[in-house]
């Protein structure tokens, strides 16, 4: 993912579509998956992805190589995803669940795994929906994307201990919710 050289960045900032496509290919997977988990809606995830890369393109000239491009793109992506999630939760109480997201571009498609995976996706969707956008993004970056605490702190531009406390509170909330879910299933 990190084979984006300084030359590619400079060429892209000077308007080379091919160079920018390399950047898109390197980071679009991360951006799209994070956006999908944070906004919990496939159409909005695509919208967020487009907005993120247009912002990256427009701001690339001001990129100062102080951080890695990866961290910079991650920061734009998580902030935009959080903004979308906040706006939406203000507009209406969100009820989009996994069934609505049937347009997903799946990488694996084995019939035997489908039911189990759908159940898992439903659980994930419900769990993430119960969290605030700030807590949700920490869980997504850590538990799904596997970023270290330091990388999360850099992506969100927050202190590493804030990452810890957000994860702690999020998981405490999730434990209570999971217990309720298990009770309801019984």
């Amino acid at each position: 993912m990190d084979n984006i050289t300084e030359n590619i960045i400079i060429e892209a900032s000077e308007g080379s579509t091919e160079a920018f496509e390399s950047i898109y290919k390197a980071y679009s997977g991360f951006v799209y998956n994070v956006a999908f988990r944070v906004v919990n809606n496939i159409d909005e995830a695509q919208e967020v992805t487009q907005e993120v890369f247009l912002t990256v393109y427009r701001k690339l000239k001001s990129f100062k190589f102080k951080s890695s491009l990866k961290t910079w793109v991650y920061r734009i992506a998580v902030n935009m995803a959080i903004d979308y999630a906040r706006k939406r939760s203000k507009e209406q109480h969100h009820t989009v669940l996994y069934e609505d997201n049937n347009k997903l571009n799946k990488t694996i498609d084995s019939a035997g795994e489908n039911i189990e995976r759908e159940q898992q996706e439903k659980i994930i969707s419900t769990l993430l929906e119960a969290l605030s956008p700030n807590q949700r993004v920490c869980i997504v970056l850590r538990s799904i994307e596997g970023l270290s605490y330091q990388e999360i702190a850099e992506s969100l531009n927050i202190n590493i201990n804030t990452v810890r406390s957000r994860l702690k509170r999020a998981r405490e909330k999730l434990i209570v919710l999971r217990k309720e879910m298990v009770k309801n299933e019984m």
Binding site: E21, N33, Q50, Q120, I124, R142, S143, Y149, L167, R171
Partner: protein, 167 residues
Amino acid sequence: MKCKYVKELILTDYLDEQLGKEQKTQIEKHLTICKGCKEYELLTRTAVVEPFNNLERYNPPEAAWHKIREQIEEELPLQEPTNSFADLIRKVKTFLYIPKPAFVVTTIIVLLLVVITVMKLQPEDQKIVKVNPESQIECITYLISVFDQETVNGNDDFGTSIEELFL
């Protein structure tokens, strides 16, 4: 180790594998002797950590890139003339860019060169000092003889108007 502290670590650093070896061993030791914490660790792991592991990853649809590309190509001609000055500044900056370690090394080299130059110049100055005593002695001898003559002749005034006024 107190259970409250252990549970906090279970919720964060322990299950996220962010602990150092020593602290991890301490927690594991505690888990072997504390049933409550062990149960809490199991609950947290199975209920809120493992469900997120190995989730399927999705690829963005092709349409997303096409839309971005279209938008970029629309914006491209507009960007070029407005940013030409910024381009120039950036190129100059890139040309003049010196990374920090290189700047430090350059400073040290310049300082060393200055010190070496000063040290090399010093012996030449000393030669000048060594040459001086002879001419200094000649000069002093001459001045003493002139002074003695003037004292003998009693001609120790300079005949200026100020002297006349005061004397």
